[in-house]
């Protein structure tokens, strides 16, 4: 009987298949994970080997989380930023009545905890959606290194400003179609940036999380997705979404994404 498992991405015979749950390939002191937040800084920036090793040493821990686990808690003392290595992390606030406000979703290669720099405390919860792995970077050590490596500092600023931009994105008076199209196009771009197939998204977040994030009702999320599917803009299989017509989907998203 053939073994039902052994679907590792390291087998050449299977390399042409995109793993269903994206996971970064392993790095070492000289070769960073291909999805690493700092990978491009190092690879493109002519960083010498000593600096590279130093950066890799900043990774204090690779931690694994199960669905629903907290990576960090709102109000906890800020000591580290995290790079998602595999899976999806949700950031959120919970108000005094227990109502949740979803702030964002973070994919492999993206950083979380940046917005904790100023108040010196994490301003939100970070929750694992499904199985998650993160790399933990000590912030004091990272700050010291960033002073010597301009590429890292720039990367931090770039990401910080993008987080702020994303938050403002959904504040406007946009239709459900526009919001969902923008959500999918944005996710697709971010997957593509990290080397995953742009048109294939795995939505680890629940539809209520998507609805909460986009300020819509859960039923509306499904209704709009079904409509996109009927128009053949997307194809939905369980939690996997394929963007079949990116240009047409972008037309719906344009008012938000080109603001």
């Amino acid at each position: 009987m053939e073994a039902p498992h052994g679907m590792g991405h390291d087998q050449p015979a299977r390399s042409r298949f995109v793993p269903r749950n994206p996971i970064a390939d392993d790095g070492d002191a000289y070769h960073f994970c291909s999805t690493c937040a700092f990978g491009s800084v190092c690879l493109g920036g002519g960083v010498d080997k000593a600096a590279l090793r130093e950066l890799h040493c900043l990774v204090e821990h690779v931690d694994s989380y199960r669905n629903g686990d907290l990576v960090f808690r709102n109000g906890a003392h800020f000591s580290a930023i995290y790079a998602v290595r595999a899976g999806t992390v949700k950031t959120r606030l919970v108000d005094i009545e227990g109502r949740e406000l979803v702030l964002g979703f973070h994919l492999p290669g993206e950083l979380i905890g940046l917005n904790a720099i100023h108040p010196d405390a994490y301003p939100c919860d970070a929750v694992a959606l499904g199985a998650v792995e993160v790399c933990r970077f000590s912030f004091p050590a990272l700050a010291t290194l960033a002073a010597r490596m301009p590429g890292i500092q720039q990367e931090l600023f770039r990401r910080l400003s993008r987080d702020i931009g994303n938050a403002a994105l959904l504040a406007g008076d946009y239709s459900a179609d526009e919001r969902l199209a923008a959500f999918l196009v944005d996710l697709g771009r971010r997957y593509a940036e990290r080397g995953f197939r742009a048109g294939s998204l795995h939505l680890a977040m629940s539809r209520s999380d998507i609805a909460n994030y986009l300020r819509l009702a859960a039923e509306t999320v499904s209704r709009v997705l079904r409509r996109f599917q009927d128009k053949r803009l997307i194809e939905v299989q369980g939690r996997d979404v394929t963007i079949a017509k990116p240009a047409e989907l972008f037309e719906f998203a344009r008012p938000i994404l080109q603001r």
């Binding site: 498992h5 679907m7 939505l203 539809r207 859960a218 999320v221 997705l225 369980g238």
Partner: protein, 463 residues
């Protein structure tokens, strides 16, 4: 996709492949469910199914276990009684189960498929049946779409045209009638004496009431059946012109189904005669315009089932085949099976266990299974073989992230003798079931079944 007349009946070949095997109304099959799957697991599976981007429609199966009289061939979970007060006692629990289960599904998930099986669903009187449908309608969001499938199995010995009109008015739009055989001596041997007139009365009532599709069930391999007697039955069936006909092979397993001990095994047709019965059925149905859909099932070309076969949208489910896109299935009633997301689960198979759980406000889950990735991809493959008669290898690989030839190297090895016999053709691009393999779909699927050879599980014969 199957084209009309593409199924070839080869008696020598069928005799060669006449081995025991599952019918694959599910994969893995029910004997592999385990006792460590509990109510909490089902609740979790439903919650998770609610949270998909586009949650699937809901399908409900409702089991009504009572029968007024024992048919000797039957292997269903059933309770023989003439005491009709038992129905009310059962319905109280069933309504409670509907209340609990329905609240677990988000309200925007429509009930697109509903099936009443048994036992004998019409052990309920018409008022009880209508009230049961209304209760379901109050708790689940019934689909209003034209293509919703609301079906009931009926025993025409215990209902009439008016009964069908009542339940059709309440929403039933397809019925399945047990016939098995119209020959009186066969009927006596299996303790089910039922006239053509009784059957026609129920069918007429259904048609008056606008029921879209009527199925008749037949069984070959029953005691005293001969090619000639079965041909007369088939003539009568064809004259009644049901949209669908199902022909099941009788599986004589008296050690598992006590009622079958009433059957004199010396009166059972031998393997050669069994094949002859099936062949006669295939020939007569085909020449009467019925199309072979797959394992046991035939349909007229205008019926939804035949159209779905043409469109490649056929689904395999516990009732055989269905036209609906994959739904999450909730099983209600004693012994009923649920299939939500990547789980199967089954209710308590005895009344005491079923009642006790519900009296404590719990769902009566007795066992089940969480499907592993390997189960899911084999289920997908077997579904393709059973429903489409083919598999596109590249699409399958990208759907599941595997290298097909490598992953299935053992299965493909097992497939080779079947290829040599012309049942099926495998190339790196696709698997295609040939004309000679259409009646041996189960045997082809068995090559891909990772549980084949599990000891102590007895299946019925493939032919």
């Amino acid at each position: 996709m199957k084209t009309p007349g593409s199924a070839q009946f080869d008696r020598a070949l069928l005799a060669k492949y006449d081995v025991d095997g599952p019918r694959y109304t599910s994969y893995p099959t029910a004997p592999h469910f385990r006792g460590d799957f509990a109510e909490a697991d089902l609740r979790q599976a439903i919650r998770s199914s609610n949270e998909e981007p586009i949650p699937r429609d809901v399908s409900a199966y409702v089991h009504l276990p009572f029968c007024a009289s024992p048919c000797f061939y039957c292997g269903c979970a059933r309770i023989i009684t003439r005491d009709h007060t038992k129905a009310a006692v059962y319905l109280a629990r069933l309504h409670r189960e509907i209340e609990i289960a329905s609240t677990l599904f988000d309200r925007d998930r429509l009930l697109a498929q509903l099936h009443f099986g048994g036992g004998t669903p019409n052990f309920l009187d018409a008022d009880q049946f209508v009230e049961l449908i209304d209760t379901l309608g109050r708790h689940f969001a019934f689909s209003r779409r034209e293509d919703r499938e609301f079906g009931a199995e009926l025993d025409p010995r215990f209902c009439d045209g008016d009964y069908v009109r009542r339940i059709a008015a309440a929403g039933i739009n397809r019925i399945s009638i047990g016939v098995q055989d119209f020959d009186r001596s066969v009927q006596r041997a299996v303790n089910r004496v039922q006239s053509v007139e009784q059957t026609r009365d129920v069918m007429d009532g259904a048609r008056d009431a606008g029921v879209r599709s009527i199925n008749l069930d037949l069984i070959y391999g029953l005691p005293l059946q001969t090619a000639d007697s079965f041909a007369r039955t088939l003539d009568q069936v064809v004259a009644l012109r049901p949209e669908r006909v199902a022909i099941y092979g009788y599986a004589h397993l008296p050690e598992r189904f006590p009622a079958q001990r009433q059957i004199d095994k010396h009166e059972l047709p031998d393997a050669e005669t069994r094949l002859g019965l099936l062949q006669r059925a295939v020939e007569m149905l085909t020449s009467a315009g019925y199309r072979y859909i797959g394992v046991d099932h035939f349909a007229l070309p205008h019926d939804d089932l035949a159209r779905a076969a043409d469109a490649g949208t056929l689904q395999r489910n516990f009732q055989g085949y269905s036209t609906h896109a994959a739904c999450d299935l909730i099983g209600l009633g004693m012994s009923a099976i649920s299939h939500v997301g990547a789980t199967f689960s089954q209710n308590a198979k005895d009344l005491a266990g079923y009642y006790a759980a519900l009296d404590q406000g719990r769902l009566p889950i007795a066992r089940g299974l969480r499907l592993a990735d390997d189960d899911l991809l084999r289920a997908d493959l077997i579904q393709q073989i059973m429903c489409a008669g083919m598999l596109d290898v590249a699409r399958f690989e990208s759907r599941h992230g595997i290298d097909f030839a490598h992953y299935f190297r053992d299965s493909l090895e097992r497939l080779k003798p079947l290829e040599a016999d012309g049942l099926v053709a495998y190339s790196p691009e696709r698997i295609v079931v040939g004309a000679r393999g259409q009646f041996l779909l189960r045997n082809i699927a068995m090559c891909f079944d990772a549980y084949m050879g599990t000891p102590d599980i007895r299946y019925s014969r493939a032919v």
